[in-house]
């Protein structure tokens, strides 16, 4: 191939060839500074409005060049999933690979087209920079390396969850959501970037990143161990939790958040119940403290407190008025969302630690508060909200106008209810959805058709119920009528025939207070044999007795407690829905809080007397 050879017989003028180079631009000419290419990996830019301080960039950085710096002037909101941390780059370590850009869940980081930095003589760390939207020297050079949809390293799409189709679930109470299989769970768990936003936003601060990691590693024992560190109602919360974690998930900023709730459910469903009990029994206090605690109510708050206290070696007795434990989890949540067998598993796990449970025992009737006080060192009230609120519109006192809470209790207790051919629900929250969907199932079973109308004050996208609940209710044939305010129950010849509603134009006034205004010209009547009110719940605390009630502090009918759940009485604590409003995971968090306070009180007292 060597056609390139020295030519011996060249021209005598050959050396003059080099003159031609005088006319050319020399290659050694200094280059003028120019703008880098559009794709250039220069100094970092960070949009502080988009950045949530999740630290994912720090995790992927292969040179440990990123340090998260706390910026006190920025707002921090765990519920929204925002931290006041921002990444700072050590350009002594950075290699400009751009992985931080490609992985950033919010896409706030990009690299700029700026590439010149001369260290300031007076500042020895002038290479340590907190990137902002303006760039390294406040001269915006334009975005260089930034992320596009096909170069994203974060998986924004969640694994599809199998659900029973509407036609298969509408006439029965079989569980709607079928749960992940192993493959789906591992893929879903692998989407997590371990930022811990979920942990911060969770009322009980569950270690979601840790148990998600364990699920991804296939170590379900470890996952359950992590779950039980903060939440003994793992089956329940794996199904019906209001999942604030997912609202805060950093992946959810641009895509679908990691299905944290379903992953918890997967871990619990996949592990044998007996094995769960073995794991939970690890780390029990070795010796009994000799202290006795009575807990009123076997709902999430009471049982969580019982779980914590019994693990610390105290003797715990739980008093429950109904014939089965679980409180609102059993008597307020329909079985298609939470199968009772799973709830029984959770409660069985707690009871297996040695909690004493007294069913069908009403305080005030079977045992008095005074007896509790004298028999126990501390008493916790966690009796929940079991009374429905009424709209008090004309006709609401009619026998066919019932509260959702009462009706749900009858349904879940297995009592036979009179199934109306046409029903109207007042309310747009999750309880309204529960009763609407439960009635729809009875109607389908009995009459073959569904005729349930749900009227909510709010607009469709402002409704309080979960989006999935609303969607599933609609799939099951429930007619949702948003922006309707109840006016009166229509009663003809002592028979309830329907509900009259008017159009609601706004729910809150200018100051954000609840003050609905209506358009009186837009009136309509929804035919109904039964009107169900699902507009809120109240506590019934009559069982406490007048003495106790008088000695406690109340505000607008709500029991006042301090940050630790302590009431005005030294021996009495309160937790759960009656303190925090209706929500399982808040009740669990409250249970932990009061348990810690009770334990401290009991041990402190012991220390004093010793």
């Amino acid at each position: 191939m060597s056609d390139i050879k020295y030519k011996d017989k060249g021209s005598i003028l050959n050396p003059l060839k080099s003159w031609q180079f005088f006319g050319r631009k020399p290659v050694t000419e200094p280059l003028e500074p120019r703008l880098a290419s559009k794709n250039y990996r220069g100094f970092h830019l960070n949009d502080w409005e988009k950045c949530i301080g999740c630290s994912t960039c720090q995790k992927v950085c292969d040179n440990a060049a990123i340090t998260m710096i706390k910026i006190p002037s920025l707002k921090e909101d765990p519920v929204q999933g925002v931290r006041n941390l921002r990444p700072a780059i050590d350009y002594g370590r950075c290699c400009w690979c751009g992985l931080c850009v490609d992985i950033c869940p919010t896409s706030s980081i990009s690299l700029s087209r700026e590439y010149v930095h001369i260290c300031d003589q007076d500042t020895i760390d002038s290479y340590f920079i907190l990137p902002d939207p303006q760039g390294m020297h406040d001269k915006f050079f334009g975005h260089g390396w930034s992320k596009s949809a096909d170069t994203d390293l974060v998986d924004l799409k969640r694994q599809d969850m199998a659900e029973l189709k509407a036609e298969k679930r509408i006439d029965n109470f079989a569980e709607v959501v079928e749960g992940f299989d192993k493959q789906q769970a591992i893929i879903e768990a692998s989407r997590c970037v371990q930022c811990g936003m979920c942990h911060d936003s969770c009322p009980t601060h569950m270690d979601a990143p840790e148990y998600i990691r364990s699920i991804w590693e296939g170590d379900l024992d470890e996952a359950v161990r992590w779950i039980y560190k903060t939440n003994p109602f793992a089956h329940v919360c794996g199904r019906v939790c209001t999942h604030r974690c997912e609202a805060a998930c950093s992946i959810g900023r641009r895509g679908e958040p990691v299905a944290i709730r379903w992953l918890k459910r997967y871990a619990m469903d996949s592990l044998d119940h007996e094995r769960v009990k073995q794991i939970v029994a690890e780390g029990m206090a070795g010796s009994a403290s000799g202290k006795r605690i009575a807990i009123i109510g076997s709902g999430p708050a009471g049982m969580t407190a019982a779980y914590d206290l019994v693990r610390q070696g105290h003797h715990v007795a739980v008093y429950e008025a109904q014939d089965k434990p679980g409180g609102m989890m059993r008597y307020g949540i329909p079985e298609y969302r939470l199968p009772y067998a799973r709830l029984d598993d959770d409660i069985d796990t707690i009871l297996s630690l040695g909690v004493e449970l007294h069913l069908n025992t009403k305080i005030g009737q079977d045992i008095s508060m005074q007896e509790l006080r004298s028999n126990y060192d501390a008493v916790l009230i966690a009796s929940g909200l079991h009374e429905g609120r009424s709209t008090r519109i004309p006709g609401s006192e009619h026998a066919k106008t019932v509260s959702a809470i009462k009706l749900l209790r009858d349904i879940t207790a297995g009592k036979t209810i009179e199934v109306p051919k046409k029903a109207v629900i007042i309310g747009g929250g999750n309880v309204a959805m529960d009763i609407a969907r439960s009635l729809a199932r009875y109607q389908k079973d009995k009459y073959g058709t569904v005729d349930v109308t749900l009227t909510a004050l709010e607009e469709r996208d402002q409704m309080l119920a979960d989006e999935s609940e609303i969607r599933e209710a609609e799939e099951e044939g429930v007619l949702i009528r948003p922006s309707r305010g109840p006016r009166q129950c229509v009663i003809e010849e002592n028979e309830l025939t329907g509900l009259e509603t008017v159009c609601c134009t706004s729910v809150f006034d200018a100051e954000g207070r609840f003050h609905p205004s209506f358009d009186e010209s837009d009136v309509c009547v929804h035919e109904a044999e039964l009107v169900v009110e699902a507009i809120g719940q109240a506590a019934d605390v009559g069982y406490l007795g007048d003495d106790v009630i008088e000695s406690l502090e109340w505000q607008r009918g709500r029991l006042q407690v301090d940050d630790y759940g302590r009431t005005a009485e030294q021996w009495l604590w309160a937790a759960g829905d009656m303190v925090e409003g209706p929500d399982v995971v808040h009740a669990v968090a409250g249970g932990h809080r009061v348990a810690a306070s009770i334990h401290e009180y009991l041990m402190g007292k012991m220390r004093k007397s010793a």
């Binding site: 020295y6 794709n39 990996r41 992927v60 400009w96 989407r191």
Partner: protein, 380 residues
Amino acid sequence: MRPENYQAKNHPPSNEYELNFGPNHPGIEGNYALQLKLHGDEIVHARADGGYLHRGFEKLMEGRLWIQNIALVPRICVPDPAPMEMCYSLAIEEIGGLEVPERAQWLRVMQLELSRIAAHLFTFGGHAATTGMYSNMYWGVADRDVLLDLFEELTGGRVYSIYNIPGGVRRDIPEGFLDRVSNTMDYIESRLPDYDNLFFTNRVFIDRAKGVGPMNQQQALEWGVTGPNLRATGLAFDVRRDDPYLVYDQLEFDIPTEEAGDAWARTLVRRHELMESIRIVRQVVKALPDIGGPIRCPIPNPLAWTVPAGEAYVRVESSKGETCYYVVSNGGDMPYRVHVRGPSSMHAVQVLEKLVEGCRIEDVAQIMFSLDACPPEVDR
């Protein structure tokens, strides 16, 4: 030791002396050294002395996530980083069974060939400089810069591309990029006669390089020589054609060879390869607009990415020879072992030691440049 206790060692009488050639020497490529034993001008014995660039890449990789290593591997061979990224990615793709989309494969070929052109331009410059022809070196470096401009546009970085990722490439081509690649290829081709006039047909180069540091084909094969150095002994072996990867089997190109096996032949093979690489890039430029589809297959979240347990040995034809990676995964989120078998560890150690023996001191540098060894790859 107290001065009064010092006793000079009695060396046997000899006309030989030792010379440390490098690690900081203008005639040596990178930070690398040869301990030479000379008799007058003639080298009697040579011992390669590497390790000045040892940063423990292989060990570092065992402590980093699979994806983090893509930023590390190009540093193993700075003048020609693309094959390093490619090998690492190909190995993971082989173990993990990832299907690289076709468009990504063509883009990878383009990156590899552009990188080869840049590396060869650099090497001529080096070889020319060691024979005293500095203009050629300036030209080589300046023309390489034109290619680095293309890398800057395509990959965001001029030298460390960090463009490959297991499963594909990180970015698609920017708008109008192929036209600029075409123009650059035309430009490089138009420069080749200048290089020929100044260097390859230059009496000085031919007289200096011919017959220097020769090896025959059998020696080359015994010593593990690969790439242009092997082809300079007359064996037309090229991984791109004999064990094709990516889309090389769909491309037309020749395998240039020379028979002499000396420094001249080795550099001349590179000069011919330059033209072949330009041919390949032109074919890619022509084909790429018709190849749609994604540039990367779906990959998991890099923070939770495990590669199934297994091992892979992959090889890629780099500008210096066969660049091979042996990657072992134990199913974890980091490699269990990555072994880099770069061509330079053969060329710069055992081959160089043998070739410089018997030659004159002024030829040591040009033998090293004609072998195109890359010291960081030796030290990896």
